[in-house]
Each structure stands twice: as structure tokens, then as C-alpha cells.
């Protein structure tokens, strides 16, 4: 009897297990529909900056490497058009073996000359050709194509960031012959090696892609196609998901939208959340008194109760994580215990604020001192964060006026010319990499986008050191030192809270993993739709 029972139990377990496994097996077919809140000026990934390009157009292309689509930290480079790579012992030569038999959508074969031509365009564009991320590749001495399936990058100095930089989602591989004839061709045309073939783009309306039947990664993509709908209004985007006319929006929604969708659709909605490689910063103008005094800047950061702020603001705004200069949950991020040692991150807010008041007194700042905080005219999350900041500063006796400036005029009118005392600034990355995350904070003569307008050679030196450190552990230490000097010792800039990415999507969407960057993971080759 016992044997029969055991057998029955085994059969039952097997019966339950089989459908579960079958359910997770990718299904072929279907059209993925997603709204995109922005539309790009051109199709050239080497030139543009907006996710409005990446979301609907990345599926037409491949890059040399990509960020692992299954890695929630969004930091691990894996092969894409390159099959494998080797790095020379001196760290100065990177050699990539390309896949064979990869075809462009016009049927021609992709070879190393296409990769070289694409990277030459990115790294050293000819006159009149725009390359937005050229500065990221200043380390490259030359790109070589010794044979059709080998690409070699020779560097000027060793770089801890170089490999990750090749996984940039912007670096579409274009066809060399086309570039040789017209460097601007890809601004108005689309032709890559990606999992989907371009069908149409009706401006202001939609982009359609269909499955590439001869895609090099056999069996992929799973979808028959995709349809990206340009929808500016957030309420309309949410309605599309709620009305099941669209499956997913890849940028992110506010907490209330998530809650409404979940309440309306229940199990039909899956929610994926992640820290977001975007953060609002407070630039403090070092050229204005009393903000030239580091005691005043330290007081400003000490006043902020980031932990309580996170609890309250994460319910109404797209912010959540308390973070240093690197996105939490990624390899170079500061662990919470270490973070809590920095000024403004202490767990004891009473102690912090007492210290803040003491510093203000010491610096001769009178109680009730007034200044203006300038903010960019974007409601979410700029407004709630500014209200929170002002309230926090009031609690150490500062009287702060909130002034909102129209978004497009903000950089030209306020932050770049230094027309402010304290102002909101932002950093939003397309890949989590210390070189990119830290560059914002080097001295002003090295980066004019340092709107706190200071010169700090120690920081510059630490930046260069971490950038060249080959050993990740060594690099982590240098990043920590950089962070301590930036946020604690000098308080050059204040970090608010890390943005929080919330993607409530149709439960039918499978195979897609949220990452800390809305620029990543948009190739759609691994995405599939359940019945």
C-alpha cells in the first residue's frame, strides 16, 4: 500500500511539475505592444541621447557585447556579436572573436570591418558627424580588424571600465560599406543585424518590427514582432496597460500607477522593481557665500533624514534607495553599513542635526538664514524631492525659498552660468559603471557639467586611479575614497534618494528582466508572450 501511495505521490508531483516547466518554456509568436513616452530626432544611436531611440529601435541592432539580459544588476558584459575575447596581460590590448555567419538585414555578412567602421565613427567621427559618447572612449588608441572575424582595440592606458563600455546599448554595429558612402545614412535609415527587421515608423504614432527569420541566435527571437506606440501622456500609457492594449512600458511608472494597475488587473499584472541609475543631486554653488564654506555644505547634507525620507517619498514618488555615488545592488555600490558612516547617512538623525546646527553656528550662519533653492520644472520626482529638502533644511533653522524654472531653460539659465545658490541637478546613466557615475564630480575644468563649480585635485586623482585599476577590489577601495571625500569630507554635492524603477507589466510578458537602467535590455530577443 505504501508503495502505491508513494507511486501516486510521485505521479502527482510529476503531473504538477510538468505543466509548470512547460509554462516556463518560451513560446513562439505574438506581437509585443509597448508605449514609449518620447520620440527620437534621428535613428542614429551613436548620436542620440534619448530612451525614445533605444526602446523602439534597439531590437533592430546588435552591439559587440551586451549587458546580460538576465542580470538584475545590469552590469555584467556578455557576448553578443563578439563570441569571446581576451585581454593582454598589460591590459592594453583587447581582442574579440566575432561570430561567423551573422547577417545584416540586407543579407550581407557582418565582419570585423563593420565593427571597426562603427567604432571608428563613435570614437573618432569625421568632421560634421556627431558622436555623443566619444569622450567615453578617449582611452582607445586604435581599432583594428586583422582578419574578418577578429577585432582588436589598442588602449593608451589600462582601463577598468573599458569592457563594460563596449556593452553600451548605444553602440549599434552598422554596415561599413554604407558608412563609407554616407556617414549620415543611419540618421534616417535602419539596417542592422538585430532580432527584428524594421517595418515602419509613422512619426508621432508608432514603430513596427517583425521577426528576423535568419537571426544568428538560432530559435530567437520568440516574438513574431513588436509594436512601439508613441504615447506622451502618462495617464494614456497607464490606460493602455490597464485596457490590455499594451503589455509593458519600459521606462517606469509612479507608485500610484502600479497600485492602481494591480488593483484593477490583479494577477494579470506582474510588477518588477529595481533601483534606478538616476538620481537627483543638489549642486551647491561654491562661488557663493556662505556655500564656499564646507561646514555649511556639510550642515546641508547632515540635515537630511534620508532613511525616513525614503519611507515617505517612495509611496508618492519614483525614489526609494538611500545611496552613495553608485547604484545600490551593483558591484561597486557602498554597503549600507559603510554608507551609514558618511555625513548625512548617519542613522541617528538627532545627532546629525545637532552637528549641522553646530557647524552653521561655527561658520557664522545666523539662525533663520534664507537662501533660494532652484528647481527644474519637472513634476516627478523633482517637485516632491524639493519640498522634502526644504522641509529638512527648515529643521536646522534654514529658511529656503523654492523657485521652479522651466525645464528646457534650466541648464542654460540656471546651473551652467552658476545663477543659483543651491539647485537641483541630476545624473542618469545608461550603464552602471564607476567611470560614468563619478565623472560628474571631477573638477570643473575637467567637466563643465560639475555645476557645484569647484576644483578638487584630490578627487581628480582618485578618479583617474580608479579608472585605471585593473583589480575590481582595488577599484572598489578607490571608489569608496572618492565617495568619502565628495560626500563627507568636502560635501561638494548632496545626493538625494536614488530613483526607483517600477515596471508593472502584463503577466503574459516573460523573459524580460528589469535592470537599474531603462536604456538596457531592450533588444527583445529573449522576451516572449505567454498564452
Amino acid at each position: 500500500m505504501r508503495r502505491v501511495t508513494t507511486l501516486f505521490a510521485l505521479v502527482l508531483v510529476a503531473a504538477l511539475a510538468v505543466p509548470a516547466t512547460a509554462q516556463e518554456k518560451p513560446r513562439h509568436g505574438g506581437e509585443l505592444v509597448f508605449p514609449v513616452p518620447s520620440e527620437p530626432p534621428s535613428y542614429d544611436g551613436h548620436r542620440e541621447e534619448t530612451f525614445g531611440l533605444i526602446h523602439p529601435f534597439a531590437p533592430f541592432y546588435n552591439t559587440l557585447l551586451r549587458v546580460d539580459p538576465n542580470d538584475p544588476s545590469g552590469t555584467k558584459p556578455v557576448p553578443s556579436l563578439a563570441e569571446s575575447w581576451t585581454i593582454a596581460k598589460d591590459g592594453l590590448t583587447y581582442t574579440f572573436k566575432l561570430r561567423r555567419g551573422v547577417k545584416f538585414h540586407d543579407g550581407s555578412e557582418m565582419t570585423s570591418k563593420d565593427v571597426k567602421a562603427s567604432y571608428d565613427k563613435i570614437i573618432s567621427p569625421p568632421a560634421g558627424v556627431g558622436s555623443t559618447r566619444q569622450g567615453q572612449y578617449a582611452v582607445v588608441e586604435a581599432v583594428e580588424a586583422p582578419d574578418p572575424y577578429t577585432v582588436r582595440f589598442r588602449l593608451k592606458w589600462p582601463s577598468g571600465a573599458f569592457l563594460t563600455s563596449l556593452a553600451s546599448p548605444w553602440n549599434f554595429i552598422y554596415k561599413a560599406d554604407i558608412l563609407a558612402k554616407d556617414m549620415h545614412w543611419y540618421e534616417k535609415n535602419i539596417m542592422g543585424t538585430g532580432p527584428f527587421i524594421f517595418v515602419e515608423h509613422v512619426r508621432g504614432s508608432h514603430v513596427v518590427g517583425k521577426k528576423n527569420p535568419t537571426y544568428w541566435d538560432k530559435g530567437k527571437p520568440y516574438l513574431d514582432g513588436f509594436r512601439a506606440l508613441f504615447v506622451r501622456d502618462t495617464a494614456a500609457q497607464v490606460s493602455l496597460i490597464r485596457g490590455e492594449r499594451a503589455h509593458i512600458q519600459f521606462r517606469g511608472f509612479a507608485p500610484k500607477d502600479r497600485d492602481n494597475l494591480k488593483a484593477a488587473l490583479g494577477d494579470k499584472i506582474t510588477v518588477q522593481e529595481s533601483p534606478w541609475d538616476c538620481i537627483l543631486l543638489v549642486a551647491i554653488n561654491h562661488e557663493k557665500k556662505p556655500f564656499d564654506d564646507k561646514r555649511v555644505r556639510r550642515a546641508l547634507t547632515l540635515a537630511l533624514d534620508r532613511y525616513e525620507g525614503s519611507k515617505a517619498l517612495s509611496q508618492i514618488a519614483i525614489v526609494k534607495e538611500v545611496a552613495g555615488v553608485v547604484v545600490p545592488g551593483t558591484p561597486f555600490a557602498t554597503p549600507p553599513d559603510e554608507l551609514a558612516k558618511l555625513a548625512g547617512y548617519w542613522r541617528d538623525i538627532t545627532k546629525s542635526r545637532e552637528e549641522a546646527k553646530r557647524l552653521l553656528r561655527e561658520a557664522g550662519v545666523p539662525d533663520g538664514f534664507s537662501f533660494t533653492f532652484k528647481n527644474r520644472g519637472i513634476p516627478m520626482p523633482y517637485e516632491p524631492l524639493a519640498v522634502w529638502l526644504i522641509d529638512q533644511w527648515r529643521q536646522i533653522g534654514l529658511n529656503v525659498k523654492h523657485e521652479v524654472v522651466e525645464s528646457a531653460a534650466y541648464f542654460g539659465q540656471v546651473v551652467r552660468p552658476g545663477n543659483f545658490e543651491a539647485a537641483m541637478d541630476f545624473q542618469c546613466g545608461y550603464i552602471v559603471e564607476p567611470d560614468l557615475d563619478l565623472y560628474k564630480f571631477v573638477s570643473r575644468d575637467k567637466n563643465p557639467a560639475n555645476y557645484s563649480r569647484y576644483t578638487d585635485r584630490t578627487l581628480d586623482e582618485l578618479y583617474d586611479k580608479q579608472s585605471r585599476a585593473g583589480d575590481p577590489e582595488e577599484r572598489k577601495k578607490l571608489v569608496r575614497q572618492f565617495e568619502k571625500r565628495l560626500l563627507d569630507e568636502e560635501a561638494h554635492y548632496l545626493m538625494t534618494l536614488q530613483w526607483h524603477r517600477i515596471i508593472p507589466h502584463s503577466a503574459k510578458v516573460k523573459g524580460w528582466q528589469v535592470t537599474p537602467s531603462h536604456y538596457l535590455n531592450n533588444t527583445l530577443d529573449v522576451v516572449w508572450l505567454a498564452d
Partner: protein, 319 residues
């Protein structure tokens, strides 16, 4: 009449010239430019090399003195060339053509909805003055005036979603591609906009009718025992229509440029949405063209209205 038409056409030129000059210089006073909007507002823009931004500005001619830019633009206008969009690089005529059909269709549909509602309601309210019917019509029109059409649109969308689990299509299908899909998409914004629009016209129809019905010639006609329907259609309505036509025509002109929020709510890819995008992106050339288009619409509508006046009331004649 022909002389009058010719004169009005000629008068359009200085009006449009004035609009063009004002738009050109006012736009350039506004801080920020298209390159700034493109690279800074997007994301990583703060790391973009200044030299690249200068290069992009030079490509668009933004490095030239303002008067040179103005002359170049005017020279294009003289040759009926609106130029290229600074954002997409596409010819502006193409950008506008894509969107105009939709906005025009929506404006016409809203006008039809408004006219179909306003004229019968206004006439009935006037005929039944101070009865419950009159009060009901007045409440209906006041509610229409008080309720923004975008709000009504949001209510419609939410209502459909919650009650019927249905959403109007949100991607535009031209009428000639699929008439049903097209109507399923546009009828709701047309109703939302048309309702508000009808409120203005209903009130105007009612008061115009009341005024006409008190005229001696109507009283005479009734005293003669003329059939009421005939009096209304032949005499009263035709005369009462003058101010109503004015209101409908002017509202139509407003609609073309003013569908901004409704287009956003229903995700309609029309002129209103293009206008917002063009301004937000500091796409000078496109914004200038759209302002000219809107101004031209008003001028043409005014002109047509005058012609219609003359037709409706033979006493009005222009020399």
C-alpha cells in the same frame, strides 16, 4: 464682391508678415534651444562635449546672427518653402501634412456634433422659453461650458475601461485605411470636444432665436396664419443663424490649434500635440510654421465667415 475678396486676400499678406516677424523674434527670446533640448533634457546630456553641441548648432544655422537667420527663413517663405524641422531634419510640410488630416477630421467631427446638438436644442429652448425644457437645455449648456473637454475625455476613457473593460483605439488609423477603426477612435474625442463647443453655440442659437421671434415680420407671418414650421425654417432660423455661424466658425478655428490637451488624453497624433512637442523641443522652424498655419486658419475662417454673412443676409454687401 470679387473686388472685396481680392482686397481681403491682399490684406492677408501684411497680417501674416506681422505674425511671422513676431513669432520669429519672440521664440528666440525664450531661453534654451533645440540642441540644448536634445542633449541636455534627454539624460546623459550633461556629459556631452560642448564642441559637439556647437557643431550641431552650426549645422542648424543657430550660430548665425539673428537677422541672417530671419532673412534665410523669409526667403524660404517667399519661395513657399517652410524649411526643415530642426528636431527631425524632415521637411516641415511633411511633418504638418501627417498631423493635419487627423486634426482637421477631428475638428470637423466636433463641429458636426456641436451643430447637431446646438441648433435643435437652441431652437427648442427659445420656442419653449421659461419652461422646464428651456431650463434643461440651459443646464446642459452651462455644464458644457463649465466642463473642460479633456476632463470629459478622461471620464469617458475611465468609464469605458471600468464599466465595459474597453478602451478606444489609441493609434491613429486613417479613415481611408479602416473607416470603422478610425471612427471608433475619433468619435469619443469628437463628442468630448463637440459637447463643450455645442454649449457656446446652443446659448447663441437660443438668444438669437428669441430675438428674431420677437421681430415684427415673424409676428406678421404668424398673424397671417402661416405654418409654424415654415416660419421657423424660412424666416426665423435663417436670420438667427448669423451670430451662430460666427460662433461656430470661430470655434472651429480655435479647435485646430486648441486640441492640445484632448489630443494628449486620447493620444491623437494631431497638430495640437505637434505644437506642444515643437515648443518643448525648441524646434523654431516647426513652431514658426505652426503659428503661421494657425494664423492663416483664423484669417481664412474670418474671410469665409464674411462671405457666408453676405449669403445669409442680402442686406450685407461689400464694395
Amino acid at each position: 464682391m470679387l473686388k472685396y475678396i481680392a482686397k481681403r486676400f491682399l490684406l492677408m499678406i501684411p497680417t501674416l508678415l506681422g505674425v511671422a516677424i513676431l513669432t520669429f523674434f519672440l521664440l528666440r527670446i525664450v531661453p534654451g534651444d533645440v540642441v540644448e533640448a536634445r542633449f541636455i533634457a534627454a539624460g546623459q546630456g550633461q556629459f556631452v562635449d560642448r564642441a559637439l553641441m556647437d557643431m550641431e548648432r552650426a549645422k542648424l544655422g543657430l550660430d548665425q546672427p539673428m537677422w541672417k537667420q530671419f532673412v534665410a527663413w523669409m526667403w524660404g517663405l517667399v519661395r513657399l518653402d517652410l524649411g526643415l524641422s530642426m528636431w527631425t531634419g524632415a521637411p516641415i510640410t511633411e511633418e504638418i501634412k501627417l498631423r493635419l488630416a487627423l486634426s482637421l477630421q477631428l475638428a470637423i467631427m466636433a463641429t458636426v456634433v456641436a451643430t447637431l446638438l446646438a441648433i435643435p436644442l437652441g431652437v427648442v429652448a427659445a420656442l419653449k422659453q421659461d419652461t422646464w425644457i428651456d431650463y434643461a437645455v440651459r443646464v446642459f449648456s452651462i455644464a458644457g461650458l463649465a466642463m473642460p473637454s479633456f476632463w470629459l475625455g478622461i471620464l469617458m476613457i475611465l468609464g469605458f475601461l471600468i464599466i465595459f473593460k474597453w478602451l478606444p483605439p489609441m493609434v491613429y488609423t486613417p479613415f481611408w485605411v479602416d473607416p470603422w477603426e478610425n471612427l471608433a477612435q475619433l468619435i469619443w474625442p469628437a463628442l468630448a470636444v463637440g459637447y463643450r463647443y455645442s454649449a457656446v453655440a446652443t446659448r447663441m442659437t437660443r438668444s438669437a432665436m428669441l430675438e428674431v421671434l420677437r421681430e415684427d415680420y415673424i409676428r406678421t407671418a404668424r398673424a397671417k396664419g402661416l405654418w409654424l414650421k415654415l416660419i421657423l425654417v424660412r424666416h426665423a432660423l435663417k436670420n438667427a443663424m448669423l451670430p451662430v455661424v460666427t460662433v461656430i466658425a470661430l470655434e472651429f478655428a480655435f479647435l485646430l490649434g486648441g486640441l492640445v490637451v484632448t489630443e494628449q488624453v486620447f493620444n491623437l497624433n494631431g497638430i495640437g500635440m505637434l505644437f506642444v512637442e515643437a515648443i518643448a523641443r525648441r524646434d523654431y522652424t516647426l513652431t514658426q510654421a505652426l503659428v503661421l498655419l494657425t494664423a492663416s486658419t483664423f484669417i481664412v475662417v474670418n474671410f469665409l465667415m464674411d462671405v457666408m454673412y453676405a449669403w445669409l443676409d442680402p442686406r450685407i454687401r461689400y464694395r
